[in-house]
Amino acid sequence: MDSIDERPISESQASPSNGDVAAAGPDYASRHQLARERRHTFGIGLLKGMAVTIKHLFKHNTVIQYPDEVQDLSPRTRGVIALKEENCTVCMLCARECPDWCIYIDSHKETLPPKRAGGRQRKRNVLDRFAIDYALCMYCGICVEVCPYDALFWSREFEYAEFDIRELTHEKERLSDWMQTVLPPPALEEGALLPGQPDAPAVAAGAAGPGSAQRPSPPSAGTAAAERPEQAMRPPAAAATAAPTADAATQSQQQAGETQAAASSAAPATPTEEKAPAGATAETKGPDTKEPEAIASSTEAASPSPTDERARETSTAERSTSTEPATSGDSEAPAVPEVARGPNVEVPSEAPRPVALERTEDPEAVYQDVLKDQLDKGSSPQVAEARAKVARVKAERGIKRAPTPVETDKMVPSAPTKGQPPEPEPSGAPEAQDIEPDPGPVAPEGGDA
């Protein structure tokens, strides 16, 4: 039983007694030595293997029993992609870069009246539909990487299995709900250049108010900075768009001009920026800053259409250009709020929980709630009951209830948006209900008689 070790040698190894010395080649000596060594340790390999496995038998087991124990996932876990809808400019980069083509975006153009008398009309894109088909998604994260306006984020949530594959297509409402679960960014490295640090005017403008309108929400900005260090190194997008390209016609132009704009706006500011305290630069990203809402309320009154995000941005951007020269000088002026952070943006250091518990719900109530909800939606009783049970278990364990899947009456993958009749696709796969099974060679009736 111990000679198993020797088998490969006796077969593959030229043995000197067989007269193969000449044919064995130049590495004969080393091979011969190897064979000799193996012969010395006759059968030891088997015992070594036994020792390895028996050690593992007595080692502490690190298995996490998932439904009962929840693993402490890393903060950057790729669970689900969240959409910050107001940041999306329908530039379609994510949809085009997606290797699986699992992102569906529909939009339409709206014409806005001119800002000033005699000005020209503006056009902007309005997002109608943003959907990610998680049945196709392979979680590569390219869409998150490629998004120039920080509209897509990774969330750690991963429990969104469905009984119906169609419900794995998360529409924008559900994708936006995931935003609540996006974690704040991790701490930057020691001595890392802070996002926004070299750009004092932007900081000043942000402190003045409207300049930060286009800036993503606090966690988002930090997330972007942490995930994309190269972006953290350069001035934030807010400054870039707030400066000369404020009236840029299209978003793609904005994006293209971003770097030069940033450079030009940052250039005059460098002397002041060095003097500016780190806290002042960091405060615009404090997680508790309520600026976006405040801005929204202030600009909503001014802008022609209150819900019009784009218009707000352009208007605030214009205003920020005007305020920029005035405020750039006294960048130390803005009061540092209590959330001001040190040179390294700190992040809650405690182990992040899977989901922030917002409220504890009575499991039974959740069960009844979901059951009724599902039955009303027309799910079959079994499916409804199963979903209700899942919700009850989650409530019992304190896992936040995932947003109820958005009901969609579209076929998946679906191109047409709401209101539009589904057009027959010119090429590619026909829709499922259009497929008629090939009847094949059908014998005429009674032909076989």
């Binding site: 039983m1 198993i4 496995t53 593992h56 087991n61 298995v63 029993q65």
Partner: protein
Amino acid sequence: MHIDIVLTAWQMLIVKLLVILTLVPLVSLVGGYALHKELAHLQHRLGPMYPGGFHGVGQTLADGIKFILKEDIVPANADKTVFKLAPALIYVPAILLYLVIPIDKHLIVEDLDVGIFYILAIGAVAILGTLMAGWSSANKYALLGALRAAAQLIAYELPIVLTAAVVAMLAGTMSVVGIVEAQNWPFVLWPPGIGLVAFLVFVTGAMAEMTMPPFDMPVAESEIITGAFTEYTGMRFIFSFFGAEMAHLVAYGAIAATLFLGGYKPIVPWGPLEHIPGVIWFVVKVVLMFFVMIWARFTWPRLREDQLQKFAWKFLIPVSLLLILATAAWILYAPESLWTR
């Protein structure tokens, strides 16, 4: 209150058979569970944890029920009678093996005078079932597996028979109880060397005969899809494959413990150890054998088919022949004072 139950020999035999008939499936279940758990922990996993409540104790039972409830499919081109009969021919010999295993001196169904011979003969019958299963399935993988199993049985039955002959020579009897009684010191310790090597050869041959890794070429689920059992489903599969495997594993563990480790007698003839009941000694030894066989099974790499045959014919059989010579020399020339019985 004392009840006198007087049974005739026939009634006694029926009771014993009923006990065995319930014991063997139970052994299959417990053995399967132990295998799951030991394998899992050797691989740094937990194994089954949910069925049955406590650490998955109900796993094998749930598996068994699941398999029994599954559809029993017989391939259209199969030789249906033979196909259906084969699992019984595999499982029944596994049960029959237990008839001559002494759990204690008197806890044995029947102490045959030719106990070892019976074990070897019955152990070889199971291969007939495997061959029938492979041939009647009308499946090339099943046929390959069956032929490999047959070739393997022939190759590895010889070392088993020869080492069993060593034991019979040392004990001077073929009765299993007689062999245990002959081991004042277990054969694995005495005569020095001969017993140990014979024990290793016997266990290796037993592992190969059960077609368990590292000798699992006849099964080789990654290459020929569990060999002879490719076409089996449901209850026939669970009985011919897992059930028989577990029953054989425990049976061969018990046989090795009986022949070489002193069975129900203490491992060394030392005063305090003699007070421990024989049943406990037997169970401890069987569990030990089971543990070590599974430990080796899931540690070592598998042998290729040709390596497997070479290993038997070129190594194990010569070694066991030498063992017979050595045993004969020991019996003839060792001084009487070295004998322990």
